[in-house]
Amino acid sequence: MNSLGTGGVAWHVAMKDLRIEWRGRVVINQVLPFAALVMVAFAFALDSDAVLQRTAGGLVWLATMFSTFLIVQRSYAADVDDGALESLRAAGIDMQGVFLGKSLAVMVELFLLQCVLVLVGFVLYDVQMSLSGWGMLLVTMVGATLGLGFVGVLYGGLIAGAGYRETLLPLLVLPVVAPVLLAATRATESAIGVSGLTIADGWPWVGILFVFAGIFGLGGLLSFDSVVEG
């Protein structure tokens, strides 16, 4: 019995999740249009270029957060439908690997989604940005993706073990990811240079994003096995 280590399990789980997503194309066909629609709706509702440019950063992250809920729900739906998650656990598969794998798959989807949203945002809201601004935005996206992915998969697992309840996930996750929302928004605003913010103002926020991701990544690794069992 040469079963795999954590890394191997993570890799195969991530590939499996991404393959399922590719089959269904739920993120591409439903989540992405939903998120883009949210942003267009804001453009209509605010109807002022000046306001839009100031709030562009926040809008991108708000849309990303809502999409996280959908992506995580989708990710667990495939595991819970026929009891596959239970089987994985019963078969003694390394649950830390499963946690990392599911997180990785969610993060890949989330990151691609963000790329599109950022582009949409820049076109719709007519935002200008310097080269170093783009650099900061990229780092911010990575940090926020890590945090949102870990938290989403961890809390999703908590309710997946108890028969999935769709409405519960936002209630649980929203207060937890508030720091990500704040930090990513501020970092993005510094990247754009909204209301006198400079690039230097953004780095502490980027730091928060990575600290957050680190804490919840570790928390997830330590508790996921027990989380799924319950």
């Binding site: 399990v9 195969h12 239970e86 089987s87 003694g92």
Partner: protein, 212 residues
């Protein structure tokens, strides 16, 4: 013959209710055994205990040389439990499901295709989405996953339910082959005529005990 399952006077609780109330059972390697009994007799609990999912709160339980009261976490790797649900990914094809489980347990590509062959999952069936398959076909995919995982002990909870007559015969054939190949199989069932066809030993459960 060496024992794969050795239970002596095992008590296991579901909440405060004793799901097993002093069960004693010995199963040898390569054996097929049918556990018969009415609903609530403790058949499922017996299987879950042997899979390491439930802790024995009294008595001795040794499965595949693991003492369940000490290291029940390690039994799961060597045991295949198939309950009411198959644990498959419905959006993936049969081959992809087998591949996923095979890769997790380090099986080679040859082993995976052999496992599918043994379960009669060939060409067109192999590439079909599991979600669009019949109950019997799904069972076969799930069993193929057990084979690729090289599960030494198969614990099957009512595997015949939901299958038509030919599906049942097919399943029996598959199980016989698996036993010949060295797997030990414990089936929970409330019908007994399958046992004869399988050439299996039959034990009965009642009130959380193995009565015969």
């Amino acid at each position: 013959m060496s024992a794969v399952i050795e239970l002596h006077d095992v008590v296991a609780l579901y909440g405060s209710h004793p799901a097993l109330a002093g069960a004693t059972l010995r199963v040898n390697r390569g054996e097929i055994i049918v556990v018969r009994g009415p609903n609530g007799a403790g058949k499922s609990s017996l299987l879950r205990l042997c899979a390491g999912l439930v802790a024995p709160s009294r008595g001795t339980a040794v499965v595949l040389d693991h003492d369940l009261s000490v290291d029940r976490d390690r039994v799961g790797k060597r045991v295949g439990l198939l309950g009411q649900r198959n644990g498959l990914f419905l959006d993936l094809s049969a081959a992809e499901n087998v591949q996923f489980w095979g890769q997790l347990s380090g099986a080679s590509a040859a082993e995976m295709s052999e496992a599918m062959q043994r379960m009669g999952i060939t060409n067109s069936l192999a590439t079909r989405r599991v979600g669009s398959m019949s109950t019997g076909q799904r069972k076969r995919v799930a069993l193929a996953c057990l084979v690729t995982r090289r599960a030494e002990l198969w614990l099957l909870d009512e595997p015949h339910s939901g299958l038509d007559a030919s599906g049942r015969d097919e399943l029996d054939e598959v199980l016989r082959q698996a036993a010949n190949a060295g797997a030990t199989i414990v089936l929970a069932s409330h019908e007994s005529e399958r046992a004869e066809r399988l050439g299996a030993r039959v034990v009965s459960m009642s009130g959380g005990q193995v009565v015969s």
